[in-house]
Each structure stands twice: as structure tokens, then as C-alpha cells.
Subunit: 250 residues, 2 copies
């Protein structure tokens, strides 16, 4: 298969290297990723500035790689429209350095790149793990993605489906299995701290920590219990559960 | 009620002025909006830089107004966490200069600010109209929002619901009514044009136009047929339709 690999940590991040190194053993890979860190850029796209696309060499990676002066969603768009002339069979976004769990995925550039792929009619997988200094954490996550791709292909992963995968940062033998589940609640409790004044203006800094906010049978619950989680996502934000009710209001 | 008003076109945009001017007749308003244009920033948040919050005076507006050196989602977060000490009853985001229809709402800072409000347990309304030089277009959209707020309150709009409203840029007497409906397909056909080379790098510029891509009974279909559209949105990206099926894959 021809796979486009992207991320939001930038083309030089160790997560995307580990992913490419594993997947280029089995597939044709093209990396098109941001030129720098783009965490928390969500589904933003660059509309007012041009995108600069540069071929880059990555150590120990055989596949072609390009950096883009834009967001993860920009990477998917310019890659499928211009850089890659042939059909892309799947987009894999990651490995993100930090989980993408619960409603926090709304902020994620990694997940948004995968959602953008489905808007371009390409099925996609987003993959994240907890930040770690250990290489085996990323190598292990990459091996799980090889497996998830095989399963997805043998089940004909439809072009409008994103699978959001999180892998716990533990040794392979300690992983209890794969759980397909819904997303949970907000993971990061964020708050602002007033850090001073600049002339008349107030200055705030964002602080926060991950909270254990478990709802059973959700992604954060399972990942904290040693499972790899797989959540199918979609891109239609309509709240169909209440569409009829709201229809009676007007 | 105490309403927080924000947008993605920036605190000095004419859409937010028209909205505030209408709603401050009936409600307590605080404006907290980006200091400049932030279109297409989606649900991105500022994590690495501090946010600078500045009180600003807006011509013909009595309500307090603040500019923020961040995204629309940042505005909602810092406003509810720090700037506004009392409970906010509702967030209204807009009036966006340009429709927010179909799956294009994924890119929208205006819609994302409203979604962020619901993550902060505040019900929210996003409102957009087609870009227009005519003041009455924005004044008319503001009057519809006054009405939508009344209806939402009398039906106890729940804290986890966003209503996405689009108002066509036509005279009030030509508007056929209000339709509650699902979102449609992609509205903008985007493509990249190679505009030259900088040293060894390729440079691409985004171009695009709105395409008529109507699916019946969707927001774009109705708005192009002279209706104000209201779509309830949610923030759980889990694809529940296929969750069980994917569960059988692994």
C-alpha cells in the first residue's frame, strides 16, 4: 500500500521516525509533516500565507520526506493535492508524543490530520502514546499500528472512517490486548495563571495537569488499565440524538 | 442573562459589533474576542505562549470588551476561567463574516469557540452569514439570534449543546423561516497552486471557491433556499454507528 505519514510534533520528532521505520518495511511510505512543533493546532488550516514545501533527509529513514510550513491538516491537503501524484491508500498520523484521549482530541493536530484525510476520501489512523524517554515505547506503538493496519485492510476500512489509537507506554508483554471503545471525558484540567502586567494589559499563562476522570469502557479507562485502545471517529458534528427535539422548538 | 460574546474575525470586526449592539439591549454582555483575524483556526489553543488580555473600547458599544492575543477557543477559556468572575449563562460566537456550513465547520474558529463553551459547561450559539458590504445583513442576523436565544432559553438549552446558526444575506421579508437540519457536505473546493520556488523549496498557495454541493434537507440546501438554519452540534467524535462492528474486528 501507499501510505502518507504525518503528525503534529513536526517532521523531526521521534514518534514519526519510529512509525516510518516500522511501516517502510511493509509499505510505500511518503512523509509529509509540519516543519516544526504544531501541537494543539486542531483542524486549523493556513489560508492567508503560502505553504513552503521542502524535501528533507531523515536519519535511518529510506522513504521520501517533506516538511511543510503549515498545520497537520495542511500537510494532508497539500500532499494529496500536489506532492503525491498517485492514489494514497491510507493516512497514518503520529506517533504523537502524548495521549490523544477523551474530548481532548478536539485540540489535537494529530487526530485532525486523520479526520482531514477522510474528507479527502482516504481512510486514516491516528496513533498516540504517553510521552517517554524510552525508544521501545514508540517502537512498540509502531508495531501495534502495523497490526491495526492489517486488521483494518482485511475488514475494508471505509474511506470515511478514522481509527484513533492510543498505546500505553509499557512493555509489549504487559499490554493486556486491544479494546475498541468510545472516547471519555476531558483529560487535561487547564487553568490560567496571571503572570503579570505588560503596560495596562494582563498576561496569563496556561497551566494544567492530566486528571483521572474515568468513565468505564472509555479510551482513558482502558489505556490506564494496560490496553491499546481503538476508537472509530467520524466528522459529522450534527447532534442527531436531539435533532428532532430541537426541530419542535421552532 | 449574562452572555459572553466572541468570534474568530477579531474584536474589531463588524459582525461582532452588530451582534453586541442588538443583544446588549436585552442582556448583560461581555465581549472577549481575538485581537486580530483568526479565521480557520478551528479548535486550536495557545499552549506555549502567554495570552495578553487588553480592555478595548468599541465605538457605539456600551458593554465591556477585551481583546486576547490567542484563538477563539482561548478566548472562551480565559474568559470563563479568569476575566468573568460570575457565572456565564450562554456564549454567542459570531456573527461570522462568511457561512459556516457542512463539514467546513471543522475549520471554523467561530464554531469551535461555541463547542469549547460546552466543554466549559456553558450552552452556546454560533452564528454566521454570507460576507456582505450591507449593514442590514448583520443587523438582521443579530435579530434572528435574539429570537434563537429566546427559544433556546424557553426550551432549557442544555449546557452540552451548541446551536450552529446560518442566516442568508437577504432582506428580512424575503427569509422564508427557520429550519432545524443536519449539516451538509464540504462547501469549499480547495486546491493548491504552485506559485514558484524559494531556493530548493516549492511554494503553494491555497485557492478555492464555494461549490453548490447540495444534499436535500441539509444546512447549505436550506440557506441557499432562503431559510435561516439551526443545527444542534455535539463534541463527541466517536462514530457510534460503527463502534460495534469495529469491535468485532479485533
Amino acid at each position: 500500500m501507499r501510505l502518507l505519514i504525518t503528525n503534529d510534533d513536526g517532521v523531526h520528532a521521534k514518534g514519526i521516525h519510529a512509525l516510518c521505520k516500522e511501516l517502510e518495511k511493509y509499505h510505500d511510505i511518503i512523509i509529509v509533516a509540519p516543519d516544526d512543533q504544531r501541537s494543539a493546532t486542531s483542524h486549523s488550516i493556513t489560508i492567508a500565507k503560502p505553504l513552503i514545501v521542502k524535501e528533507v533527509e531523515l536519519p535511518d529513514i529510506k522513504s521520501k520526506a517533506y516538511s511543510v510550513s503549515g498545520t497537520p491538516a495542511d500537510c494532508v491537503r497539500v500532499a494529496t493535492d500536489q506532492i503525491i501524484k498517485d492514489k494514497v491508500d491510507m493516512v497514518v498520523s503520529g506517533i504523537n508524543i502524548g495521549y490523544n484521549l477523551g474530548t481532548d482530541i478536539l485540540y489535537s493536530g494529530t487526530v485532525s490530520a486523520a479526520v482531514e484525510a477522510t474528507l479527502c476520501s482516504v481512510p486514516a489512523i491516528a496513533v498516540s502514546t504517553e510521552s517517554s524517554a524510552e525508544d521501545y515505547v514508540y517502537e512498540n506503538a509502531a508495531k501495534y499500528i502495523k497490526k491495526v493496519i492489517e486488521v483494518a485492510v482485511s475488514n475494508k476500512l471505509h474511506e470515511d472512517i478514522v481509527l484513533n489509537v492510543n498505546v500505553p507506554p509499557i512493555k509489549d508483554e504487559d499490554i493486556k490486548g486491544i479494546k475498541v471503545c468510545k472516547i471519555g471525558k476531558l483529560q487535561f484540567h487547564h487553568y490560567y495563571k496571571e503572570t503579570g502586567k505588560e503596560q495596562e494589559n494582563l498576561v496569563y499563562k496556561l497551566e494544567g495537569e492530566r486528571v483521572v476522570n474515568h468513565v468505564e469502557e472509555t479510551d482513558s479507562y482502558y489505556v490506564d488499565n494496560g490496553y491499546v485502545t481503538v476508537t472509530p471517529l467520524h466528522y459529522d458534528l450534527t447532534n442527531f440524538n436531539i435533532l428532532k427535539d430541537v426541530g419542535k422548538w421552532f
